[in-house]
Every structure is written in structure tokens, then in C-alpha cells.
């Protein structure tokens, strides 16, 4: 694995260049919140953020996107697909979020059916991760094999060390970008910063507040669907909003609908959906396999901690902590994991 150095003072120059040559998506501050948005120049980027309020998964699975336009008169049908994705650079995604994108890959680019919309964006996007400099009380990425300086899922990983960025080149795509801007990425002295990165990773790993241990959790969920634990308070206090699913970087459920203004033309749109809504599984005849909040709350956590793991060999959570921060009633996946661990131990 190769490494480079970028002087902190040169980062604005790099970002300005990237903004010109690509669609550059970076963290942007909007009042009290941080979002990933397309920026046109370096000064619009807000890099002193801890983590964004919505994950950057929207770069690959946007909140809504057109899958095609149609012209349909009953006797004739024409379908027009949108253009493929433009060359994009996603800059500044935290390690939890880049890891989350790797959990989405097997869903969309799975064995039998690909997804041209997701793949087009994925192929044409270079992901530049940015190691954390701070650990929030709601962070727990370590529990799933991640870490504040982990490069999983990023083509390049920037880590701030003193007045420089230590850049790890993780993929060919990353290498290609580094070569294109070789005047900013220098290889001199890069290896010396590796130690600094190790030290930072060590320091940050000692700052986690939440103790999350998955030992035995999957086993207790396997074959124990009717666990009495799910009759506890969680489903009672859940208000059934979609907040946790929409801020989550690994959630991928979507809805498909047609948008038409009634003139024989229209668009087919794919947009985010949430398993917490009652009508998510409501069938046309009125039957609903998950009729109450209990089934839906249970399904959400079983999906994150078991089903995703069963299907794709990866846990469906990356420990970013957004759901923990944003849930209006303080439903906390770390508490549920630790409770389930206790259930496993007492079994």
C-alpha cells in the first residue's frame, strides 16, 4: 500500500482543482447541521465537522432518483433512461461511512441482478475518506471491526497529522487520482507519518465511551425469533417515524413510484423508504405481516444484527451513532446489543 503527503496549506488548491475537474461532494455547514453537498470551491467545504447529519450514502443511493422517463399512450410506449453518472469525487467521508458503502455494495451489485444506477455512480466516484480527529460519545465503530482511522471503503484515506495530511492510497482508482494531481501529492517523507497515524488511531480508540460487545448476539438471534426481549419497552416508546432509517448509512430500503402530471408522460422514481412505517409491508388486500410497532422494531434490529449478516457476511451496522443521536425517544442500538448479550449469557 502506497502513501503520500499533502500539506494542509495545499488542500484548498486540491479541492479547487477537484471541483473543476469533477463533481466534488464535500461536507458543508448549513446553520446547525452538516450535509454532503456538491461544492464549487474549496472554501465551501467544512472540514472541522465530527460527522454529518445525513450520511454520504446519497452519493450512491440518492434520496430520490429517476430510473427512467416514459411516454405512454396505451398503444405506444417509449422509455428513456437518464444519463450515467458524472465523474465525481466524494471528499471527507468518515471511516464509518466509507465502510457503510461497502455494506451496500453486495445489496445492489449482488449475484443475480445488478443496479445500473448504483453501479454507474459507484464506478465513477472516487471516495476520499477523512480519518476522525475526535470520537463522539455516540460513536462505536470499533464494535463492528471499524475504527476512527480505518480505510475500508475509501480509495484514498486522508489523516490529519500536524500540518500535513498522511494519504493512504488504497485502490487503483485512488492511485489514478494521486497521479493526476502529483504536484500536490508528494511521496517524500510519507512513510514517516505512518507512525503518527498509528498513534492517532491508538489515542482515539481509547476515547470511546460506549462499550459495545457483539459476543453471542447473533447466536441468540438465530432461531429465536420470538425472543421475549422484543416485548419490552422499545416498541412501546418507538413513535414509528423514519428518522433512524433515513440518517443511517447502511439502510437501503426504497420505494418505486410513477410521477405523472397526466399528459401521457411521466417519470419512474426510486426514493428512500422506511421499514418503520406501517404501510411498508401492507398488502393490497389489507393483510400486513408486520402489523404493529413490535414487529417493525424487532425487524429493524434483526435486520441490522442478523439478516444482513446472514445474506452478505457483513453486519448491517457500522457504529456511526447517528440513530442514537437523532432518535426522539432514545432508542439505542448499543443498549439493545448489550441487552441481547446479557440474554445470551443468561441463556
Amino acid at each position: 500500500m502506497e502513501a503520500r503527503i499533502v500539506n494542509k496549506g495545499q488542500l484548498p488548491e486540491l479541492l479547487d482543482k477537484l471541483a473543476k475537474d469533477y463533481d466534488l461532494i464535500a461536507p458543508v455547514k448549513e446553520e446547525t447541521l452538516t450535509f454532503f453537498r456538491k461544492i464549487s470551491c474549496a472554501k465551501d467545504a467544512f472540514l472541522e465537522y465530527t460527522n454529518s447529519d445525513i450520511s454520504p450514502k446519497g452519493c450512491f443511493l440518492p434520496q430520490s432518483e429517476k430510473t427512467f422517463s416514459y411516454t405512454y399512450t396505451g398503444d405506444s410506449l417509449e422509455i428513456v433512461k437518464p444519463e450515467g453518472a458524472k465523474k465525481t469525487v466524494l471528499f471527507g467521508a468518515r471511516p464509518c461511512d466509507t465502510r457503510a458503502i461497502t455494506t451496500l455494495d453486495p445489496v445492489f451489485e449482488g449475484v443475480k441482478f445488478g443496479d445500473e444506477y448504483y453501479s454507474s455512480k459507484r464506478e465513477n466516484t472516487v471516495i476520499i475518506g477523512l480519518s476522525c480527529t475526535k470520537v463522539l460519545s455516540t460513536c462505536f465503530c470499533y464494535a463492528f471491526g471499524g475504527g476512527p482511522c480505518d480505510g475500508t471503503g475509501s480509495d484514498l484515506l486522508f489523516t490529519e497529522i500536524g500540518d500535513k495530511y498522511y494519504v493512504e492510497v488504497n485502490t487503483d482508482k485512488g492511485k489514478a487520482l494521486v497521479d493526476t494531481y502529483s504536484q500536490i501529492f508528494s511521496s517524500q517523507g510519507a512513510d514517516q507519518l505512518a507512525k503518527g497515524k498509528e498513534e492517532l488511531a491508538q489515542k482515539l480508540s481509547g476515547e470511546f465511551v460506549r462499550k459495545v460487545d457483539l459476543t453471542g448476539v447473533k447466536e441468540v438471534l438465530d432461531g429465536n425469533f420470538e425472543l421475549p426481549y422484543w416485548n419490552g419497552d422499545d416498541y412501546k416508546k418507538c413513535i414509528g417515524c423514519g428518522t433512524c432509517t433515513y440518517v443511517c448509512p447502511t439502510c437501503h430500503c426504497f420505494d418505486i413510484f410513477d410521477y405523472t402530471t397526466g399528459d401521457f408522460t411521466g417519470d419512474r422514481i426510486r426514493c428512500w423508504d422506511s421499514c418503520m412505517y406501517p404501510e411498508y409491508t401492507l398488502m393490497a388486500g389489507g393483510h400486513n405481516p408486520r402489523p404493529t410497532r413490535k414487529e417493525r422494531v424487532r425487524n429493524r434490529f434483526m435486520h441490522k444484527l442478523k439478516y444482513h449478516l446472514d445474506r452478505y457476511d457483513m453486519v448491517g451496522c457500522v457504529g456511526c451513532g447517528r440513530c442514537v443521536r437523532k432518535c426522539p425517544v432514545n432508542i439505542d442500538i448499543t443498549k439493545i446489543i448489550n441487552d441481547l448479550k446479557e440474554v445470551a449469557q443468561n441463556a
Binding site: 422509455i79 445489496v107 443475480k112 441482478f113 445488478g114 411498508y280 388486500g285 446472514d310
Partner: protein
């Protein structure tokens, strides 16, 4: 090689419409591009997503066996917005179809065995593809006796009347048992619920597969009857329905535990269902 264009429907034209009952119609469609039908490769039990532009998509089983010809048949009940619009369409009009999706009946494993089909109401449609497959000229010799036990609310609600009363009885080594919940002047046959009729007919589980499809209430009562008759869980096959949007195992909603009904189903054996959460 994964098909990345899986969300795009292909245009089909309606070539025939049969009014099965007051709210059920069977549409025969052909792809505008014949090459698509050539390569479609649908197997009995699979489903398609029908696109009614302006309304959306709906998952419908392919009710025709691939042996029947270069067309697809979809039997659609009028239950919601989309099916309402579809029911108003006429021969010659177009809509979109994408597929085939889902798994299929284990017709290879069933070779050499007798087949006992149990269908209720509208749900004869998904298993009809296997019935016709087993009764086809091409594969008839691979299967033993084919029996079909089918019931609906009333005579008017019986689907596939021409198959039930004319085509299937005329084929070799078949047995047709039909019943209705409520008799009337149009019906001279047996009156009673499907599970009760199954108990009466009492098929032997020897060298047999039972393929069951029906509304949840019928399945609930029929399965214990099959068990009582001695059918093992591996011998009982059913096909499930769920709300679906992508039919590709991505949009997340049709899961039963770790399985997606659109990819790992809709065909499941009772043995498989017993190992899954009872959430369907």
C-alpha cells in the same frame, strides 16, 4: 453475469383477455421484441413485475407454463389502483413487463412423482404454471398422476373454468376435484371448504408432492390436514405473496427473516417455512 438493467420493463402487447370472474382477468401478452421472449427462460412458479405506467408496478405470477407457447399469461385480481387500470385495458394495448423473478417449483425433484395441487380462490393462478408444465406434451411422461383440488367462494368465483372443466379432464391420468363455499343454481357439484374436501379425498402421501396455494386462512387449515394425511414437510410446497417493489432483493420490504420472498421465494417448502420466522 448480473443484469444491471433489471429495473427497466420491456414493452408487451395484450393479445387476449379472459374474464375469469367478476374481478379476475387473465391477460395473454407478447413482447414487442420477440428476442426477449426467446431468452426469457421463465420457469413454472416465477413472477414478473407488471408496469402500468402512471400507476406503478405490481408483482404477478406467470400463470402460463413456458411450454405453452411464446407468450406470457398473467391472472390479475382487481384489488387496488394499479389493477383497476389494468382491468380497463383492451387487446392491442401495451404495458411493461420485467422478469422473470423469484425461484421456481422444484420440478426436477418432482419428476417421477404424483402431483396433488390444492388451490383456493384466486390462488390457483400461481400453481397453474406447474400444472400445465407437468401436463405438457413435452414433460407429461416425467410425472405421474396429476390431481387438482380447487375451490372458491362460489361458481362465479372459480377461475380457469375452461381448464377445470374442459382442458385438464381431457388429459391423461388427471383427477379434478372442485368445490365452492356457497352453492347456487349455476353449480351442481360439491359444496364445502377446500380443507374439508382435501380430508375427504384423502390423497395418499406415497410418492407424491402436494402443491398448495391459497388465501392465508385456507393455508392455515389445509396444512394440518396434509400433515394428518402423512405428508412430510419436504413434500408440501407452497408459494407466498408479499408486498414487493423491486422484486430483486434490494428494496428490503418482502423479507421473512433473512430471506427475500422475491429472490429466495416465492416458492417454499413447508420444511423451509418452519425454519423461518412466522411473519408472513
Amino acid at each position: 453475469m448480473p443484469n444491471p438493467t433489471a429495473l427497466t420493463p420491456y414493452p408487451v402487447t395484450i393479445t387476449k383477455i379472459v374474464d375469469e370472474t367478476s374481478d379476475v382477468k387473465t391477460f395473454t401478452v407478447e413482447f414487442d421484441d420477440p428476442e426477449i421472449m426467446e431468452n426469457f427462460g421463465n420457469k413454472p412458479g416465477q413472477v414478473c413485475m407488471l408496469s402500468i405506467f402512471g400507476e406503478g408496478e405490481s408483482t404477478i405470477s406467470i400463470t402460463s407454463a413456458p411450454t405453452r407457447g411464446k407468450f406470457l399469461e398473467f391472472t390479475v385480481k382487481r384489488v387496488g389502483r394499479l389493477t383497476e387500470v389494468l382491468h380497463q385495458m383492451e387487446v392491442g394495448q401495451k404495458f411493461g413487463v420485467r422478469g422473470p423473478y423469484g425461484n421456481w417449483f422444484p420440478y426436477e425433484t418432482m419428476k417421477g412423482k404424483d402431483l396433488f395441487f390444492v388451490g383456493g380462490g384466486f390462488a390457483l393462478a400461481p400453481i397453474r404454471s406447474l400444472i400445465d408444465f407437468a401436463l405438457s406434451d413435452q414433460y407429461r411422461k416425467d410425472y405421474g398422476r396429476v390431481e387438482i383440488l380447487y375451490g372458491s367462494r362460489s361458481y362465479d368465483d372459480l377461475c380457469f373454468k375452461s381448464d377445470l372443466f374442459e382442458r385438464w379432464p381431457s388429459l391423461s391420468n388427471t383427477g379434478i376435484y372442485t368445490t365452492v363455499d356457497r352453492g347456487d343454481d349455476n353449480w351442481k357439484g360439491r359444496v364445502g371448504h377446500v380443507p374439508g374436501y382435501v380430508e375427504e379425498v384423502a390423497p395418499s402421501p406415497e410418492n407424491k408432492f402436494a402443491i398448495i396455494a391459497g388465501p392465508p386462512i385456507m393455508i392455515k387449515f389445509a396444512l394440518p390436514v396434509m400433515e394428518k394425511l402423512g405428508f412430510k414437510d419436504e413434500q408440501i410446497i407452497t408459494t407466498l405473496e408479499m408486498r414487493m417493489k423491486c422484486c430483486l432483493g434490494k428494496c428490503g420490504r418482502c423479507n421473512i427473516g433473512s430471506k427475500f420472498v422475491c429472490v429466495d421465494g416465492p416458492v417454499f417448502s413447508r420444511a423451509q417455512l418452519k425454519g423461518m420466522p412466522q411473519e408472513y
